[in-house]
């Protein structure tokens, strides 16, 4: 009892999406009676994240849960942790292959490019030919990959269909409006999370285009759920972050206590949340969903 695990994410302090995972580890920690610490680089600098993993390793926890935001940067510190005999589970970003190469027990997550591509396939089916990918986090490689996956599924060049929107909601909104005005033939939108989705909703609403453009987004929030219900957003890609936080804690605890561990990686997503399955999602959006 009382095992100590550390979860290291790549997200800056203020990234809201990670709260679901924080809540998940809190729940799991309580249920399993273990201690789980959440750590992240305050500004989202991946080099800082590598230091945090090294530091976590130095503190000899019973297990480390980490994202593979950048394989190059993180493979070293993570494989050192493995070599030190600390069980590692990778979550969220990164691929199964990378996880194996590091020597982690398993990967719980969703590959970003594939998720973007999944979104793109749905969009293609809905007849999207020209789209806008609102990237509020242009410096994060995963964000760019999502846009690229979407573009590839549509079979078009990404080009300047991805915009660097910044994080300020009013600016995002204005930029989306400006883009849609200058590119009126745009018939698909992809946003990469609530930060860009909310202002985009406001922009569409103000331009009277709500519901006329095929709109997909990553991740959930109460506003997004509302928009799915009212047919403005077609789908939200839900990688079920709750599982990414909850499962590794449970698995690591069981490994520590009874030496049991599943043999394969787990895909927590992509799950598509649409009007059909919104009801349950909505209740916990932003907290457990």
């Amino acid at each position: 009892d009382g095992e100590r695990f550390v979860l290291v994410s790549h997200a800056p302090d203020s990234d809201s999406w990670w709260n679901t995972i924080k809540n998940a580890i809190a729940v799991a920690g309580e249920q399993m009676n273990v201690e789980v610490e959440y750590r992240n680089p305050p500004t989202g600098d991946l080099a800082d994240m590598a230091r945090i993993i090294e530091q976590a390793t130095a503190s000899n926890p019973d297990g480390i849960i980490a994202t593979i935001a950048d394989y190059d940067v993180l493979s070293g510190p993570l494989s050192n942790a493995v070599a030190k005999g600390i069980p590692v589970i990778t979550i969220n970003s990164g691929t199964e292959e990378q996880s194996k190469a590091i020597g982690a027990l398993m990967h719980v997550g969703q590959p970003e490019f594939a998720a973007g591509k999944g979104a793109g396939e749905k969009a293609k089916a809905a007849g999207v030919t020209k789209f806008l990918c609102v990237n509020h986090y242009i410096t994060n490689p995963a964000s760019v990959e999502r846009c690229q996956g979407y573009a590839e599924a549509l079979g078009v060049e990404l080009g300047d269909q991805m915009i660097d929107s910044g994080q300020d909601p009013a600016e995002i909104k204005s930029k989306v409006m400006a883009y849609l005005q200058t590119n009126p033939d745009t018939n698909g939108i992809l946003t990469l999370g609530p930060t860009s989705a909310h202002p985009t909703l406001a922009a569409l609403d103000e331009m009277g285009k709500a519901g006329t453009i095929h709109f997909g987004t990553f991740d959930l929030s109460s506003e997004i759920a509302e928009a799915i219900k009212s047919d403005v957003i077609a789908f939200a890609i839900d990688q079920q972050p709750y599982l990414q936080g909850y499962l590794p804690v449970v698995i690591l605890t069981n490994l520590a206590r009874y030496g049991v561990v599943p043999g394969n990686s787990i895909n927590s997503g992509p799950g598509f949340v649409t009007k059909a399955n919104i009801a349950l999602v909505e209740k916990y959006a932003g907290e457990y969903r």
Partner: protein, 380 residues
């Protein structure tokens, strides 16, 4: 005694006529003003985008509203930063203050269910108190405001994130709009004015109407957002305060030479603390408008806004070291900032290049402004 005076004046008049400066001075006086650089800049920028993006809808009513809103945002914080900078200090905690105020409002309304008007008042009170603390520390310790407000940049941001996570387990808090429905104060920040006017304008064909979707038949421009009204109000307030009142003279004096001002009885400490509070006030107006418009607050709002405010002010001709500047200039700086940012979009330029443009414009603007300032003040 009177004789000596008279005689000397006559002599001096002679001398001045010699200088051959007097004839031009009237013309110069009209043109050579602190905001001249910003005026030229604004004209150039508009000319540029009229050529480059004239056909892209940038100057249609919707387009105008589009860049106006962005400029208005910059202007709101620029007015605060401008007065503070003229008073000789500056504030790096503006961005963190925006995040902080937003979360305070959202927490109180959504999480604790308090009425929106109460939350807004509390947020303003807190912001003013923190602004006063900033000013108090700067004055008491004699440290440069760069350091003190840099410390608050970190403290406030950290506290905001911590508070929002500790109380709600989220760093983004939504649902404020619903909670503020029908509130007696909230519309002051989130509403739109003159909707009727725009309906009429669309009826006579000046403004387009939506042709499809749920809003078909309504004008494409719904009204003037309160954000713009606030910006205009703050600009007018700041401009009148600075150039037309006693207090404005004190602001200039405090920034120009605080010791000299203190000696003639200007309450410099009070002026500076009040300006720190005003800067915090503007940040909170910004935050409240944003929260009310988008219905959510996030702990990371306002990142790097302090720089954007300072850039607007500096483009507008103010002196980084205080004692010189103009609110109109700062507003024009904000306009330039907003128009360039959105204009590049309308013009279809790769959006990451925006930062490069911004840097170059900043450099050119300050060089021009320095030249103008030297002509006015006789600095060397």
């Amino acid at each position: 005694m009177a004789d000596t005076g008279e005689q000397t004046i006559e002599q001096l008049k002679e001398e001045i006529r010699d200088e051959r400066l007097r004839e031009t001075s009237r013309l110069r006086k009209m043109f050579i003003r602190p905001e001249l650089g910003a005026i030229c800049g604004a004209i150039l920028v508009f000319a540029f985008f009229l050529v480059v993006a004239g056909g892209s809808g940038m100057f249609a009513p919707e387009g105008i509203i589009n860049w106006s809103v962005v400029s208005a945002q910059f202007a709101i914080i620029a007015v605060g930063a401008c007065l503070l900078m003229i008073a000789g200090e500056f504030d790096l905690s503006v961005g963190s203050m925006i995040g902080f105020s937003g979360i305070v409002i959202a927490l109180m309304t959504v999480q604790w269910g308090l009425p929106a008007w109460f939350a807004i008042i509390v947020a303003f009170a807190l912001a003013l108190a923190i602004g006063a603390l900033n000013g108090y520390l700067v004055i008491k310790t004699g440290l440069p405001s760069f350091i003190v407000t840099l410390a608050f940049l970190y403290i406030l941001r950290g506290a905001t994130i911590y508070i929002s996570i500790a109380t709600t387990r989220k760093t983004i808090i939504g649902g404020v709009r619903e909670a503020a429905e029908g509130d007696p104060i909230a519309w002051l920040f989130g509403g739109k004015l003159f909707s009727g006017l725009f309906v009429w304008l669309s009826d006579i064909g000046i403004v387009d109407k939506f042709v499809a979707g749920p809003k078909a038949g309504q004008p494409v421009v719904e009204g003037i957002p309160m954000l713009v009204i606030w910006a205009i109000a703050l600009i007018i307030f700041g401009h009148v305060l600075l150039t037309r009142t006693k207090f404005g003279n004190w602001i200039f004096a405090s920034g120009g030479d605080s010791q000299a001002a203190r000696y003639v009885g200007v309450p410099v400490n009070r002026v500076k603390i009040l300006m720190f509070m005003f800067s915090a006030f503007c940040a909170t107006v910004f935050a409240t408008c944003q929260v009310m418009e988008f219905g959510s607050a996030a702990a990371d709002r306002g990142l790097l806004k302090e720089f954007e405010a300072i850039i607007s002010v500096v483009i507008g001709g103010a002196l980084l070291t205080g004692g010189y500047g103009s609110v109109i200039g700062a507003a024009l700086g904000a306009l330039i900032f907003g128009v360039v940012q959105q204009g590049l979009f309308f013009a279809g330029v790769e959006s990451s290049l925006f930062r490069v443009f911004l840097g170059v414009i900043l450099l050119l603007a300050v060089i021009l402004n320095t030249y103008i300032r030297r002509m006015i003040t006789g600095e060397r």
